[in-house]
């Protein structure tokens, strides 16, 4: 479970942190890599085995050129008549055995190194995936409103992949290269310093190129990622809105939009390829040049008798070992660029502080009488949210058997009240209490387990009807589920489906009409216990006759809970014990239906407007 970091000093509001995350990325290059590396070292044993294996693998690999050199000297030795044949053959045999063992051991340790490295990488991926999942479920609705879901998916798939690769392609490869080059340098310098310098001349040049390339490549990676995200969004919107596109014969326009974005993405792709190719080919070139120099200087040294032919072979063999690693340096740069970009994008989300979280001393909500109270509540949306809606001076009390209806023009703050009850936002003044406990002092989980909000636009999961109805209580019994569906006037419909409650609904299953979906949402809500039940415009697509049936089915439930009905159709709430008329965030009228009609105020005005719009008021 991810621990909360309060020391970050981030803004309290995740909306604000969200708006700054893009700027933050470019500065955090090394921090991000360090952070991923630290995550890797949390798996101590595996990393220890991995690193030790890497060191041993590199060491055994360094033996190979030495043995090769020895073999050449041994074979060549006879020609120069320094030893007899039998001993030479014995010596060759020994060298051969040493070669096989060194190679085999190198292979075994490389296997360990890769395996442990990949395992740690997958473990990091796993942990990140869980943290990411948890974090997305914690972040507020308003944050989710502002972030494109495609972008979130890309981070959860591609970016985790990019970070995961860092352990093998970054950390362990770094150890491997250091030891190969460092150990090789020591061995070579001991044979011949001058030739050693020539052999390793390419290292600083490559090192310099690496540091330049890293930044440039990283920059193109980021731009590519952004551009691809834009392209994805264009395609996704086009496909989702294909009927609109067809309806207005806007295919050309859509293709233009796509082409414009696609062309930029292609240009950045080419730029990235160009950069990458330039750096890697240059590195290979410098490496080969060094090899040529070794042949030249070393060859003359052999001619001059300063070193043996075997030693020259050893130099060349060592360089030949380095050919793969030099190529890999290129991949390493790529991996640095990728890991830091991807990691940055992920950490930006993981570090967001949910604007709503439990207080350290939060206690579970205790329900005694089930009384919900708003006391002089003020609320304004966080700055920068662009939402000007506010609430001020809202007081209300709902209790079992006392239903509150809330009505008012769009934007008057009706839904905000529902959001405040579930604490999806915190009030900026006054308080919301349930049975005398301020909801900011109780644990979110216990609060939300007691406040059931039935939304206007319900989400269907691609799963069976059963699963969908029981979404809030997956352990519900069959009879409870059927009872809830019956209350929501959905049971008959479900029973007639091909597989009844096991029928698949959602994207790939049976599609439900708007009204059926809302009834599904009501069934979900009534299945659950809870002291407070809020209907947030949740019968808008259900016609009046069905709504009446639902209402009478709900009678018993309503008696046991504090119910708040937010609606714009007066027939939905005219029987509430108290009706609040909201306008610009204030309660301008309150009372029951008859009282409000008698006042001939805004409520009465709305009532006559609705009767005019449809002279069937659903009640006669």
């Amino acid at each position: 479970m991810k621990s909360k970091k309060t020391s970050h000093g981030k803004s309290q509001l995740d909306i604000n942190s969200e708006s700054t995350y893009r700027i933050a990325v470019s500065k955090l290059d090394t921090n991000v890599l360090w952070r991923i590396t630290k995550m890797a070292f949390r798996h101590r044993l595996r990393m220890a085995i991995g690193i030790v294996s890497t060191i041993l693998a590199a060491t055994f690999q360094l033996f190979v050129p030495q043995f090769l050199g020895r073999a050449v000297d041994q074979a060549h030795g006879l020609l120069t008549l320094t030893s007899d044949r039998a001993t030479t053959e014995d010596a060759l045999m020994t060298t051969a055995l040493l070669l096989i063992s060194a190679s085999l051991l190198r292979g075994l340790f490389t296997m360990c190194q890769n395996y442990q490295g990949e395992a740690v990488g997958h473990l990091i991926g796993y942990n990140l995936r869980l943290s990411y999942y948890r974090q997305l479920q914690r972040l507020s609705f308003s944050w989710h409103d502002k972030v494109h879901s495609g972008d979130l998916m890309a981070r959860g798939i591609l970016d985790i992949e990019g970070v995961r690769m860092w352990v093998t392609t970054g950390v362990l490869r770094f150890f491997l290269l250091t030891i190969l080059i460092g150990g090789g340098a020591i061995i070579l310098f001991r044979i011949d310093i001058e030739l050693g310098v020539v052999a390793l001349a390419f290292v600083p040049i490559v090192g310099f190129r690496v540091s330049v390339a890293r930044l440039k490549l990283r920059d193109t990676w980021m731009r590519l990622q952004d551009q691809m995200a834009k392209l994805t969004q264009i395609m996704e919107e086009n496909l989702s809105g294909i009927r609109v596109v067809r309806a207005f014969a806007a295919q050309d326009h859509e293709l233009n939009r796509f082409d414009k974005s696609s062309r930029i993405a292609l240009a950045v792709t080419h730029e990235r390829i160009g950069l990458f190719v330039r750096y890697t080919t240059q590195m290979t070139f410098v490496y080969f040049l060094s090899m040529g120099l070794v042949l030249w200087v070393g060859g003359h040294k052999v001619i001059d008798g300063e070193i043996t032919l075997g030693e020259l072979t050893q130099f060349l063999a060592f360089m030949s070992i380095l050919q793969m690693p030099v190529r890999q340096i290129g991949w390493m740069i790529n991996s640095i660029a990728r890991a830091s970009t991807c990691g940055g994008r992920l950490f930006n989300i993981l570090d967001l502080e949910p604007s709503i979280a439990d207080k350290p001393d939060a206690t579970p909500l205790r329900i005694t009488d089930g009384v919900l109270k708003f006391e002089n509540v003020d609320f304004r949306y966080p700055a920068g949210d662009g939402d000007q809606r506010t609430l001020s001076g809202i007081s209300l009390e709902a209790r079992p058997g006392k239903t509150i209806g809330i009505v008012g023009p769009p934007g008057s703050g009706k839904s905000t009240i529902a959001q405040l009850i579930g604490r999806y936002y915190d009030v900026t003044g006054g308080s919301v209490t349930i049975d005398g406990q301020d909801i900011r002092n109780v644990s979110l989980e216990s609060l939300r387990a007691n406040v059931r909000i039935v939304q206007q636009e319900p989400f269907l999961f691609t799963s069976s009807v059963n699963h969908n109805v029981a979404y809030g209580d997956p352990w519900a019994g069959r009879s409870d589920i059927e009872q809830s569906a019956a209350t929501a006037q959905l049971h008959n419909y479900i029973s007639n489906l091909p597989s009844g409650y096991a029928t698949l609904v959602g994207e790939r299953g049976v599609s439900l009409s708007g009204g059926q979906r809302q009834r599904m949402s009501i069934a979900r809500g009534v299945l659950l216990d809870g002291a407070v039940l809020v209907f947030d415009d949740s019968t808008a697509s259900i016609d009046a006759a069905t709504e009446q049936r639902i209402k009478s089915a709900l009678k018993d439930i309503v008696k046991e809970r504090a119910v708040i009905i937010i609606a714009h159709r007066l027939s939905s709430l005219m029987h509430a014990d108290e009706i609040l008329f909201l306008e610009e965030g204030r309660i301008v009228e309150r009372g029951d239906h008859d009282q409000l009609l008698a006042r001939s105020g805004r409520y009465a005005e709305l009532y006559s407007l609705q009767t005019r719009l449809s002279d069937t008021d659903g009640e006669n």
Partner: protein, 630 residues
């Protein structure tokens, strides 16, 4: 955070899954070489033919330089160095050979640069070409295909499959290089010394044997790893899209545990896959060691017998070190290729989806039409033998407003789609402005018919851009006028940046009513003779509702309109009402007339259902039965 409250009810597993219940039934690996896919890819490669030839040349040149390097070293050792200074010109010869070496290296550099650049760029082009082809094709394929295919599935083809091909394309040309290198090394080894060469190469069959045993096992592991990945990603996607319900119903902990199961599965399968990948390393390295040992013992012996030059032995050692590289990358190639073939198959599947509706070669594009709509004996359906519309005939006169009502599935939406020629009729004909729709261009239909859909879909971008969608050349003033006409101006001005306000994904920062008004404004800007409107079923708050009724009146002015009506006010305001049931028009006339005739309409109307769409099935059945009786 607290643990999920264990249910006191029982110990049975929860009725819950994360991610879809349906498994991804798509093949991840295709055949290793699919002639059809490669052939189709070839078509897309044709424009780059010249560059491909250059690239292949560069790959061959690059490979040859790699082959040449040990040979130069061999020459340097045998001819210049090994004699230990006995040959006077040894030093001079060495200088020449090093110069040759440098020359080869420069050549190698150029060839490397050329091959990598060209291959990378062609691959980039090809992917973008393929993606564009798919995207463009999806703009014209039949809507019934789009209806039954999820957006997510198409997106995974546009992105995932295209990326799988990228890997293949970028590495495929190097595979040619690897092949050449492999056979080159074999040839060089055998020609340098046939005996030693043959003995050295004797380790190769062992590797192939190991591969044959390894491959099916590894494949299964990799397949499983991919499956668990896609299951995990599906669960993640669901949690993102359904986050509101999750938080409201406090499913976080249950979901987290379920997700953890999938993620753990994913972790384990990947770690097990990693075992298979890495187990080959010591085998390959051991065999390399064995090959080197053979060279040392046998080659060394030959050198001792003076039957082999020491330089040849050195060259052998160098070649053997590189020998397994191509074999290794060729096996990686193998699975990349399989993936690419499967991906290619899916891409071309999309590209091959039939275009059912297309412009005739002599399709007309009249500037003006008179606005009439005529259906003549139209029969149409989506599935063979299941007609949705049965021999329907009617005419809508220019300027007339006709309301279509009827239960779900009665054929209202199909009537609307056919007018815009989203589909072609099975039988009969449809004429718009006197022209058969099949004789008009699609663009022409788009210009003369404006459509407002039930779900007001908005694109991300500014409000201005959204209203302008149907007519890109519309001026800012025209847009503001339209917004004013439909009563959207006021709320637009209240938004932070007015007409420049950026809409969230799907217009999420607007209410349903506001989105509806914007889509009205969009249709008004289109300024078409004919309006087709599918009224939203959700009832909207009375204030917006009033706005919408006014906007609708403004929208219908001087236009021919066909409205799938749900609101009684709209229905009653229509010049004529057509009642559809089971694909047939069963009643037609104005409100008073239909009420007097005591048919289905009057019965439905009296039942007090605000919308005919959401009538419970049992009620609808009883009603239509009693209707049949009359």
């Amino acid at each position: 955070m607290a643990k999920a409250t264990p249910s006191p009810k029982s110990n049975r597993p929860p009725l819950a899954v994360v991610g879809s219940l349906v498994s991804q039934d798509e093949d991840l690996f295709g055949r290793i070489f699919d002639r059809w896919v490669v052939g189709r890819l070839g078509e897309y490669l044709r424009p780059y033919r010249a560059r491909i030839i250059i690239a292949i040349g560069a790959v061959l040149a690059f490979t040859l330089t790699q082959l040449a390097i040990p040979l130069i070293i061999r020459a340097a050792i045998d001819d210049a160095v090994a004699s230990g200074g006995e040959i006077a010109e040894g030093g001079a010869l060495l200088n020449i050979l090093v110069a040759v070496f440098i020359g080869v290296v420069v050549f190698n550099y150029i060839a490397n640069h050329v091959q990598e650049t060209i291959v990378g760029k062609i691959a980039g082009h090809l992917l973008f070409d393929l993606r564009r082809a798919m995207y463009a094709h999806l703009q014209v394929v039949s809507l019934s295909f789009m209806d039954k295919t999820e957006v997510g599935r198409l997106m995974s083809r546009l992105q995932g499959d295209v990326n799988a091909l990228q890997e293949f394309l970028e590495s495929s040309i190097f595979a040619i290089g690897d092949f050449v290198l492999l056979f080159g090394i074999i040839a060089v080894l055998l020609s340098l010394d046939a005996r030693l060469g043959a003995m050295t190469l004797s380790v190769v069959p062992i590797l192939f044997l190991v591969r044959i045993i390894w491959l099916p096992l590894a494949r299964r592991a990799f397949l499983r790893a991919r499956e668990t990945s896609s299951a995990t990603n599906a669960a993640l996607a669901e949690s993102i899209h359904g986050v509101r319900v999750v938080q409201e119903l406090t499913r976080e902990d249950v979901n987290f545990d379920l997700f953890d199961e999938k993620a753990t599965d994913n972790l384990n399968s990947h770690i097990s896959g990693s075992k298979y990948t890495n187990v080959l390393i010591p085998i390959v390295d051991g065999l390399t060691g064995a090959a080197m040992a053979i060279i040392v013992i046998v080659g060394g012996g030959l050198v001792l017998d003076q039957a082999l030059d020491i330089g040849v032995m050195v060259a052998f050692l160098f070649y053997v070190q590189r020998f397994f590289d191509p074999i290794r990358s060729l096996t990686i190639q193998y699975s990349i290729m399989q993936r690419a073939m499967a991906a290619g198959q899916r891409i071309f599947e999309v590209l091959d989806v039939e275009v059912e509706v297309s412009n005739k070669s002599d399709a007309q594009d009249p500037k003006e039409i008179d606005g009439s709509i005529e259906f003549e004996n139209v029969t149409f359906g989506y599935v063979a033998d299941q007609p949705v519309l049965k021999n329907i005939s009617f005419r809508v006169a220019p300027g007339e407003t006709v309301a279509l009502v009827g239960p779900t599935g009665s054929g209202k939406t199909s009537t609307m789609s056919l007018t815009h020629r989203f589909y072609d009729v099975w039988d009969g004909s449809i004429r718009v402005g006197g022209h058969d729709v099949r004789d008009l261009t699609q663009a022409s239909l788009g210009r003369h018919i404006a459509m407002v859909l039930q779900e007001p879909y908005l694109f991300s971008g500014t409000i201005l851009e959204n209203i302008r969608y149907a007519k890109l050349e519309a001026s800012r003033d025209a847009i503001i006028d339209a917004a004013k006409a439909v009563g959207a101006h006021d709320f637009i001005m209240r938004l932070g940046a007015g007409y420049e306000t950026e809409l969230d994904q799907g217009g999420g920062n607007l209410s349903l009513g506001q989105r509806q008004l914007l889509s009205f404004a969009r249709a008004l800007v289109a300024d078409a003779k004919i309006l087709i409107l599918d009224e939203a079923t959700a009832s909207i708050d009375s204030y917006t509702e009033l706005n919408i009724q006014r906007a609708l009146a403004r929208l219908l002015e001087n236009r021919t309109a066909m409205v799938i009506a749900h609101r009684l006010a709209t229905i009653r305001g229509a010049d004529r009402i057509m009642v559809l049931q089971d694909g047939e028009i069963i009643e037609t006339g104005d409100h008073a007339h239909l009420m007097a005739s005591e048919g289905l309409y009057s019965r439905l109307y009296r039942m007090n259902y605000a919308s005919f769409d959401d009538i419970p099935d049992d009620v609808a059945r009883t009603l239509s039965e009693s209707n049949d009786a009359t």
